[in-house]
C-alpha cells in the first residue's frame, strides 16, 4: 500500500474545503434567520458582522467593502471570487484538488464534486440575491452531504479514506470553535440573568449554525440554556459537530494510520492529549477558567495538529 504525500495532501484539503463550504452555508443560514426577526427579538444587522467574523473573513471583507450590508455579505460569502473562503471558492478549490487526484477518488465522489462545481457555475453567472439565499444554501449543504455520503459509501477503508476524513474533522473542529469564539459572550452566565426573547434567539441561532437545534432538545430535554449550548458544542461526543466528537474521530483515523503504517508520531500524541483534555473537564470548569480562553487555546491546538499531520505525512 503506497500513498503519495501529494495525493494525501490533496485529499485532506479537498475534504477541508468541502466542509468549509458547508460551514459557511450554515453560518449564512443562521445570520439570515436572525436578521429577519423583528428587532425586539434580536433582529440586528450586527448579525451580518458576526457572520463575517465567524467565517474568519473580517480582514478580507474590510479590504473589499466599506459597509456591511446584507447583500454585500451574502455576495462575499457565497460567490465572491476574491474571498478564499466563499462557498464558490471552496467548491472550486475542492474540485481542483479532486481533479488532480482522479485516481484516488471513486467515480461517485468525483461526480458529487464535479456536479456541485457545475451547479455552482450557474449560481456564479446568476448571482445570489437575498431572496435566492435559502435555495442557494440548500444547494451548498447538499453538495457537502453528497460528497461526504459518497466518500463514506464508496471509498476503500485505506489511508486515502482516513486522510479525507481527517481533513473533514479538522476543519469541522475549527469551524465549531470559531462559532464559539465569536459568540462566547452571549453564552456567559451573567448574560443568562438578562434572559428574555433576545437571548433565546441568539442561542438558538448558534445551535442552528451547527444544525443542532433538534439534537439539543433530544439530549437535554430542557429549554435552551447557554451553558448547555456550550456543553453540547464542546463536550458532547454524541453531537457530531462538537469538539469532543471531532477529536474522537480524529483520534480514530490517526490510530488507523499508525496501525497500518506501523509507527506513530507527533500528530497521534497531540490529538490524544486534546481528546483527553476534553474528556477530563466539565462545562463548569471551562466557564470558571474562562470560556474565551478555552476556545482560543483549542483553536491554537487544532492548528498545531494540522501542521503536525502535514509534517508527518503530507510533505
Amino acid at each position: 500500500m503506497t500513498l503519495l504525500s501529494r495525493t494525501a495532501d490533496n485529499l485532506f484539503w479537498m475534504a477541508r474545503y468541502m466542509e468549509r463550504a458547508d460551514s459557511v452555508a450554515r453560518i449564512l443560514d443562521a445570520a439570515y434567520r436572525l436578521s429577519s426577526l423583528p428587532t425586539a427579538y434580536g433582529g440586528l444587522t450586527s448579525e451580518w458582522d458576526s457572520a463575517i467574523a465567524t467565517a474568519g473573513c473580517t480582514a478580507a471583507y474590510a479590504a473589499a467593502h466599506e459597509k456591511v450590508t446584507p447583500e454585500a455579505v451574502v455576495h462575499f460569502l457565497a460567490v465572491s471570487p476574491e474571498n478564499p473562503s466563499s462557498i464558490r471558492r471552496c467548491l472550486e478549490i475542492a474540485r481542483a484538488n479532486a481533479r488532480a487526484e482522479r485516481t484516488a477518488l471513486t467515480i461517485e465522489m468525483w461526480e458529487a464534486i464535479n456536479d456541485s462545481y457545475l451547479t455552482m457555475q450557474g449560481w456564479v453567472d446568476r448571482g445570489v440575491s437575498l431572496a435566492d439565499l435559502p435555495r442557494f444554501l440548500a444547494f451548498a449543504k447538499e453538495a457537502a452531504l453528497r460528497f461526504d455520503g459518497s466518500a463514506h459509501r464508496t471509498m476503500l477503508r485505506t489511508d486515502a479514506f482516513w486522510f479525507t476524513c481527517l481533513g473533514l474533522c479538522t476543519e469541522r473542529a475549527d469551524n465549531t470553535a470559531r462559532i464559539l469564539d465569536v459568540k462566547y459572550h452571549v453564552l456567559l452566565p451573567d448574560h443568562a440573568r438578562v434572559g428574555g426573547g433576545l437571548d433565546y434567539y441568539q442561542w438558538a441561532s448558534i445551535l442552528r449554525s451547527v444544525s443542532a437545534l433538534t439534537s439539543y432538545r433530544w439530549v437535554y430535554r430542557d429549554s435552551v440554556k447557554p451553558w448547555l449550548v456550550a456543553d453540547l458544542l464542546i463536550l458532547k461526543e454524541d453531537m457530531p459537530r462538537s469538539l469532543a466528537a471531532c477529536y474522537r474521530s480524529i483520534n480514530g483515523y490517526l490510530d488507523e494510520l499508525s496501525t497500518a503504517y506501523g509507527w506513530q508520531g507527533n500528530s497521534q500524541r497531540l490529538a490524544r492529549s486534546v481528546h483527553m483534555r476534553l474528556g477530563n473537564t466539565s462545562i463548569e470548569t471551562i466557564f470558571q477558567s474562562g470560556l474565551h480562553e478555552f476556545v482560543e487555546s483549542f483553536l491554537a491546538q487544532n492548528n498545531e495538529l494540522g501542521a503536525a499531520i502535514a509534517e508527518q505525512y503530507l510533505s
Binding site: 503506497t2 488532480a100 494510520l257
Partner: protein
C-alpha cells in the same frame, strides 16, 4: 489523381470479404433506427466517461470528446499474424538501431545511415552514449502507424518511439462495444484486448534494474493540464501503479525515491510520459518544473529504468524512417516483412530532381515536423503554392522527404446519411520487455469522418473505431 481505394469490407468491388461476413449480415439485418439508437447510447456513454475522466484544463477542452464510430473495423486472424510478425521485426530493428546509435555506430561505419542524420538530430542525446540499459531495451512501448492499400499490403507510415499515446482509446472503445453490441461478440471469436495493462506491467517489471526483488513502477505525468492526462490517469489506474508528477520524486545517492505518507519509497521503473527535454532540469532544460533534478544521474548509475529510454526520438524521425528497410536488413539479416511507404530523400540529388518534377503528385514533409505542419500535399495545392514550396525545398533539401499520395483503405462507417466508406489507419502497440515482445491483438483505428478525407487526426475531424482481430 488518387487511385481507387481498397475497401476492407468490399475489397475492390468483388463483394464481401470473408472476415466481414458476420458483421455485414448483422448490419443488413439491423434496422436503421437500432443503429441510430446505439450510436446515441455510445455518445452518452462516452460523454459520461468524459465527465468522469476527460477533464483537461479548461472548459472548452473538457467538452472535446473524440468521435467514436460504432461500426468496428475487422481484420482477419491470418492478416494480423503477418502484421504482428512485421511489427515485432520492426521494433526489434528500432531497438538494435538505438543501441548502436548510442554505442559503436556500426551502422554509420558500414555506410548504411549517414552520420549527420544521427548527430544532428534534435532528439539525439549525447548523455546516452555508452550507457547499457537493462535488456538493451530502448523502446519498450512503440506505437507503429500502419495503413493498408490492398488485401496484402500494409505500409508503415510512422514509427512512434517516444511517448506513443492512444492506447486508452483502444481499451475504452472495446469496453463500449461490448456494452452496446453484446450480440455481435457471441457471433464470432474476437481476440480480447483487455490484457494490455497486464502485458504492459510485465514489460515494465522486466526492465527493472534490481533483480529478484519486488520492483516499484510509477507512471510519470506532466500533470492534469497535459492534454493526455486522461490517458495517464486511466493507465495508472489499470496498472495499479502510482501516477506521479516530477515533484513527487527526488533523487538521493543516485537513487530515485517518491514521497509517500510512509516516507521515501524507492522507485525502480519510470513509465515516463514527459518529453526528454523536461525530464531533468539539471541535465536538460533548466527551466523545467515538470522534471526531477538529478534523475539522469540515477539513470546513468543504473539505479532506475525509464520507459521509453531517453533519446529514442532519433528513431522516430522521418529521415531515419526512410532507411528502415536497410536498418532491418543490417541488424537482423532479414527481409523486412512490413514495407515503408516509398520515400524520396530530398537530400539525395537524384531524389530531389524527381520530387521537383513530380510535386503535383507527391506529399512533401519536413523531416522533424509532425501534426501536418510544414507539409505540402501536391495534388491539393495550386501552382503558386507548389512554386513557393519548390523554392523552400531547394534551399534546404535535407530538411524534406517526399512520398506518393496513398489510397488508404476504407471501412464502413456510420455517417449522417447512413453507412459509407471512410479512410482509416491503424496504430497497434508493441511492448518490448527484457524477456519477450508482447503485442495485444488490436490497436487504435483512426477514421477520417469527412468524405474523401485522408486526414485521420482527431484535431481535424478524425474519429476512432474499435478494431477486431478475428480468431483463425
Amino acid at each position: 489523381m488518387t487511385p481507387r481505394a481498397f475497401d476492407e469490407m468490399g475489397g475492390f468491388g468483388e463483394g464481401c470479404r470473408p472476415c466481414y461476413a458476420a458483421l455485414k449480415r448483422w448490419l443488413d439485418e439491423a434496422p436503421a433506427e437500432l443503429l441510430d439508437q446505439r450510436r446515441k447510447e455510445a455518445e452518452l456513454l462516452f460523454r459520461r466517461i468524459g465527465i468522469t475522466f476527460a477533464v483537461y484544463g479548461e472548459q472548452a477542452a473538457q467538452e472535446r470528446l473524440i468521435p467514436f464510430d460504432i461500426i468496428p473495423r475487422v481484420i482477419a486472424g491470418n492478416e494480423w499474424r503477418k502484421l504482428s510478425h512485421g511489427l515485432e521485426q520492426r521494433v526489434k530493428a528500432l531497438n538494435a538501431l538505438l543501441k548502436d546509435v548510442y554505442g559503436h555506430r556500426e551502422i554509420v561505419r558500414a555506410g548504411v545511415v549517414p552520420e549527420e542524420l544521427i548527430l544532428c538530430n534534435p532528439y539525439f542525446r549525447p548523455e546516452m552514449a555508452q550507457l547499457r540499459l537493462a535488456g538493451d531495451i530502448y523502446v519498450a512501448i512503440a506505437g507503429i502507424d500502419v495503413v493498408r492499400v490492398d488485401a496484402d499490403t500494409f505500409y508503415v507510415l510512422e514509427d512512434n518511439a517516444r511517448t506513443p499515446s492512444g492506447v486508452s482509446y483502444m481499451l475504452e472503445n472495446r469496453e463500449a462495444m461490448i456494452r452496446l453490441f453484446p450480440e455481435l461478440f457471441s457471433r464470432q471469436s474476437i481476440a480480447p484486448v483487455d490484457g494490455y495493462p497486464d502485458e504492459l506491467l510485465a514489460t515494465l517489471h522486466s526492465i527493472a534494474p534490481r533483480r529478484g526483488e519486488e520492483s516499484c513502477v510509477v507512471l510519470l505525468t506532466p500533470g492534469p493540464y497535459n492534454s493526455a492526462y486522461y490517458e495517464h490517469s486511466f493507465l495508472a489506474d489499470k496498472l495499479g501503479v502510482e501516477l506521479v508528477e516530477g515533484r513527487d520524486l527526488f533523487v538521493r545517492d543516485e537513487t530515485v525515491f517518491m514521497r509517500t505518507t510512509q516516507g521515501p519509497k524507492r522507485v525502480d521503473v519510470i513509465y515516463s510520459r514527459i518529453d526528454d527535454d523536461f525530464l531533468d532540469p539539471l541535465a536538460f532544460r533548466p527551466d523545467s518544473v515538470l522534471g526531477v533534478p538529478g534523475l539522469m544521474l540515477a539513470y546513468r548509475a543504473g539505479n532506475v529504468s525509464l520507459a521509453n529510454a531517453v533519446g529514442t526520438g532519433v528513431a522516430d524521425d522521418k529521415a531515419i524512417y526512410s532507411y528502415m528497410p536497410e536498418i532491418v536488413r543490417f541488424y537482423l539479416g532479414e527481409e523486412p516483412i512490413l514495407q515503408n511507404v516509398p520515400t524520396w530523400r530530398c537530400r539525395e540529388p537524384e531524389a530531389l530532381a524527381y520530387v521537383l518534377d513530380h510535386l503535383g503528385d507527391l506529399v512533401v514533409k519536413e523531416v522533424n515536423g509532425s501534426g501536418g505542419y510544414g507539409m505540402l500535399v501536391g495534388p491539393a495545392a495550386d501552382a503558386a503554392t507548389r512554386r513557393l514550396f519548390a523554392e523552400k525545398l531547394k534551399r534546404r533539401p535535407d530538411n524534406f522527404i517526399a512520398q506518393p499520395t496513398l489510397a488508404l483503405s476504407t471501412c464502413p462507417t456510420f455517417v449522417g446519411s447512413g453507412i459509407a466508406p471512410r479512410h482509416v489507419d491503424l496504430r497497434p502497440f508493441v511492448l518490448t520487455g527484457a524477456d519477450k515482445v508482447r503485442i495485444v491483438p488490436g490497436g487504435l483505428t483512426r477514421v477520417a469522418l469527412v468524405e474523401g478525407s485522408l486526414v485521420v487526426n482527431s484535431s481535424q475531424g478524425g474519429g476512432t473505431k474499435d478494431t477486431w482481430i478475428l480468431g483463425e
